[in-house]
């Protein structure tokens, strides 16, 4: 197909069952689309994404010789890849497809205004058709994928991912900030659901990683620069001790930067007594036969745990999520400690022992006479420190009693929160973060391990609060994603990059200053020098195109014309577009 072909546009309006059709008059939308310029076919259909729907698109492309396709359905963030593939199978360049979001942006958020929703749907379809008329085909580019994975973080997830990739026969560069591998798990004394200590679990992994000929481990190190694109990333790793910097070329990345336990200053007198510790701090106390009070070294006879500290707090940013591992971890620790301690209390809101073997810990703890007391959500226990003694008081909602307790040791099961430098990591790898502060997966349901940055995977607690066993599963899964790319050896990349029209360039250097990736340089071989884009470095943000004072930069697939024509389609009547007066 060439650009001189007259646009022949097909419009497909999806019911999405009731999801769209229940609010938007899809038939009316499809009918309206028929009257739009260059539209040669328009219809509505139950599920466009189903096999039947996809076949319909392919059939109609052939039947009507369509060269542009507009599908009005759900968010393009979900199905753009699906439909791009469909049109491509029928011989239409993927960049000649455009999707209208009638579900997330119309029917679901204007449920009670069906008429206004239908008007909005019509406008959006008009805008998309207008854009489709001026879309241009772009070449499909593939790049090779280097057979090395960068694994960031040497905790249990990072170690597992590195081992799996190494065992599968690909090279791994494992970068760990600390001087030792092993992360949190290495320090923990009471792991669940197994009976091993963290050290017993992590040691064999570390040994295997160190012995593996395909795995290069850099401890005390940090990724300080990250550049390039899927399959061909260039990273700079700095040794934090020696400040020595090294550059590596890698193909894929797994970010397994994990979490930190929340240090709950301001909660339950934390910090006011050495005898108030977090669950993580308890886990890290040196193992001994008898648990000793941190303050005076005498044996702990009474211990209390408080759950959900810094977790499940509606409206408190970064602390709204459930930290997932603490209920089972607390039950396990309490059950383990109970036999040597006179009294163990767990104060909770809900007991979330959901996993394999977790309910058994809960039962075991109860059987060993750990006392469980549920406190009201709006009246948390009050903890004070008097004469270096810890006093707690709260109401047990289940017995409707005011209770007090003086534990020798108070353990706060605190939230898993992202490491302090997660914003930096997010920025480095262009990852987005969700409300809990952890990284967003590509899709929360069906793509939990990949991200919106092609070639960068996430695993373990860097994605959300998780326990060690779940992190191990994630790690192997993320490794599969990386290996999938490397085994194939090449991958298609987006052609949506910017391009300088050298005859219009006034050599002002503005684009060079605004480009965040250093993708634009001056071609000094011509006189006067003009700007040019290194496509492999360009990630398609388009900042240069809008900054260029000479309009010399085209942002492919997002040209000025392609954007403005949508605005026109929305605001101007057909008469106006022909040069008439506004209505």
């Amino acid at each position: 197909m060439t650009q001189t072909d007259d646009p022949r546009i097909g419009v497909f309006v999806c019911h999405c069952g009731h999801n769209i059709a229940g609010v938007v008059d899809v038939e009316a939308v499809a009918k309206m689309a028929e009257s739009l310029p260059n539209v040669v076919f328009s219809c509505d259909e139950m599920f466009m994404c189903s096999d039947a729907g996809q076949q319909l698109i392919r059939d109609k492309i052939e039947e009507h010789n369509l060269n542009r396709v507009v599908v009005a359905s759900c968010s393009p963030r979900m199905h753009e890849p699906t439909f791009r593939r469909v049109v491509e199978e029928a011989g239409v360049n993927r960049y000649l497809f455009d999707q209208v979001n009638l579900r997330e942006h119309v029917s679901w958020c204007h449920t009670r205004q069906p008429e206004a929703a239908t008007e909005k749907a019509k406008d959006l379809v008009k805008m998309s058709v207008a854009r489709a008329r001026v879309l241009e085909d772009l070449p499909i580019k593939t790049v090779k994928v280097l057979a090395t994975t960068l694994v960031v973080g040497g905790g249990i997830a990072g170690l597992r991912a590195a081992l799996d990739i190494g065992d599968r026969g690909f090279d791994v560069l494992l970068v760990e900030k600390e001087s030792e591998l092993g992360g949190h798990v290495a320090k923990w004394t009471h792991l669940f659901p197994a009976d091993e200590s963290g050290a017993e679990v992590i040691k064999p992994l570390i040994k295997d990683v160190k012995a593996h000929k395909r795995i290069t481990t850099l401890t005390n190190s940090k990724v300080i620069e990250f550049d390039g694109y899927i399959g061909n990333f260039e990273v700079t790793v700095e040794n934090l001790k020696t400040e020595k910097k090294q550059k590596f070329d890698i193909g894929t990345v797994i970010v397994a930067t994990g979490f930190i336990p929340f240090r709950p200053y301001g909660y339950f007198a934390y910090g006011e007594s050495p005898d108030i510790v977090t669950l993580a701090e308890l886990q890290e106390l040196a193992p001994s036969d008898q648990l000793l009070k941190p303050s005076d070294g005498t044996p702990v006879k009474k211990i209390a745990f408080i759950g959900c500290v810094g977790s499940r707090e509606p409206g408190v940013k970064g602390h709204e999520h459930c930290s997932r591992h603490c209920c089972a971890a607390t039950a396990k620790a309490a059950a383990d400690l109970r036999e040597k301690i006179e009294e163990v209390l767990i104060l909770y809101q809900d007991i979330r022992t959901y996993g394999k073997g977790h309910e058994e810990f809960y039962r075991l703890a109860r059987r060993r006479h750990v006392i469980f007391s549920k406190f009201p959500r709006d009246a948390k226990p009050v903890v004070t420190v008097k004469n270096s003694e810890v006093h707690m008081s709260w109401r047990d909602v289940l017995a409707d009693r005011e209770l007090t307790f003086q534990p020798d040791l108070l353990v706060l099961a605190t939230a898993m929160i992202p490491p302090e430098d997660i914003a930096e990591t997010a920025k480095m790898f262009s990852l987005t973060r969700s409300g809990d502060g952890f990284f967003n997966p590509e899709h929360i349901k069906l793509a939990p391990l990949t991200t919106h940055t092609a070639g960068v995977m996430i695993a373990g607690a860097s994605q959300a609060a998780k326990n060690a066993s779940e992190s191990v599963i994630d790690a192997s899964g993320a490794a599969a994603k990386a290996v999938g790319l490397m085994a194939k050896g090449e991958v298609e990349i987006e052609s949506t990059v910017s391009h300088v029209l050298s005859e219009l360039c006034s050599s002002c250097h503005t684009c060079i200053t605004v480009c965040p990736y250093g993708a634009i340089n001056m071609d000094e071989t011509v006189d006067p020098p003009v700007a040019f884009v290194t496509e492999a470095k360009c990630r398609g943000c388009g900042t240069c195109a809008s900054a260029c004072p000479s309009s010399a930069i085209i942002m492919y697939h997002s040209t000025d014309n392609q954007i403005m024509t949508m605005v026109e389609a929305y605001l101007c009547s057909p008469a106006q577009l022909e040069g008439g007066e506004p209505q």
């Binding site: 009294e343 209390l345 007991i351 809960y362 039962r363 109860r366 059987r367 060993r368 006479h369 750990v370 006392i371 469980f372 007391s373 549920k374 008081s393 047990d396 289940l398 017995a399 409707d400 009693r401 005011e402 209770l403 007090t404 307790f405 003086q406």
Partner: protein, 172 residues
């Protein structure tokens, strides 16, 4: 008997000792299994008729170690052993058995609700519960049916029992 709620506002220090004590009694073994879901209360015939009795809450009071309060109240005595709660409990807690064990501890320490005590006193005295109601009419009926009208053997039997087992320990 103390009213249960009088103790509600005094602060209590939780302890597992009472639960352990109950657990050591025959029938008390399952006390620690309770997760406080409330299935028992919602199934309980007695709880349906009085706001005072909540088997779930009573278990929690035992688990929190409210020993004196539980033993001195008449709550453990309100269970009528229909076992509907046991039939439904998803954690296999045998509440009727547990309350039976608690009653034994209570009785041992002299906590028996007057109604129960009076009933037992009557039985020990008369040999049966209904002597006051034994009227001429019933006597006639028994006679008509060819039954023995002299029921004093009840008394003798109880007197024997008393002598053999009770030795007058807790019967005033």
């Amino acid at each position: 008997m103390d009213e249960v709620n009088t103790a509600a506002n005094t602060n209590h220090v939780p302890s597992s000792n009472f639960a352990k004590e109950v657990e050591a009694m025959p029938g008390g073994a399952d006390i620690a299994k309770c997760i406080q879901c409330g299935m028992c209360t919602a199934s309980c015939m007695v709880a349906s008729t009085t706001d005072k009795y909540r088997p779930r809450k009573l278990i929690q009071m035992i688990l929190l170690g409210l020993r004196e309060e539980v033993l001195s109240s008449d709550l453990p005595w309100l269970c009528m052993t229909c076992r509907m709660c046991e039939e439904r409990c998803q954690e296999n807690v045998n509440l009727a058995e547990i309350f039976h064990a608690v009653r034994e501890i209570a009785a041992r320490e002299g906590y028996i609700p007057p109604a129960f005590k009076n009933a037992i006193d009557v039985v020990l005295k008369d040999g049966w519960m209904l002597e006051d109601a034994y009227s001429d009419f019933i006597e006639d009926d028994r006679d008509d049916l060819g039954l023995d009208t002299d029921l004093s053997w009840n008394k003798k039997f109880v007197a024997k029992l008393k002598k053999k087992y009770f030795k007058g320990v807790f019967i005033k």
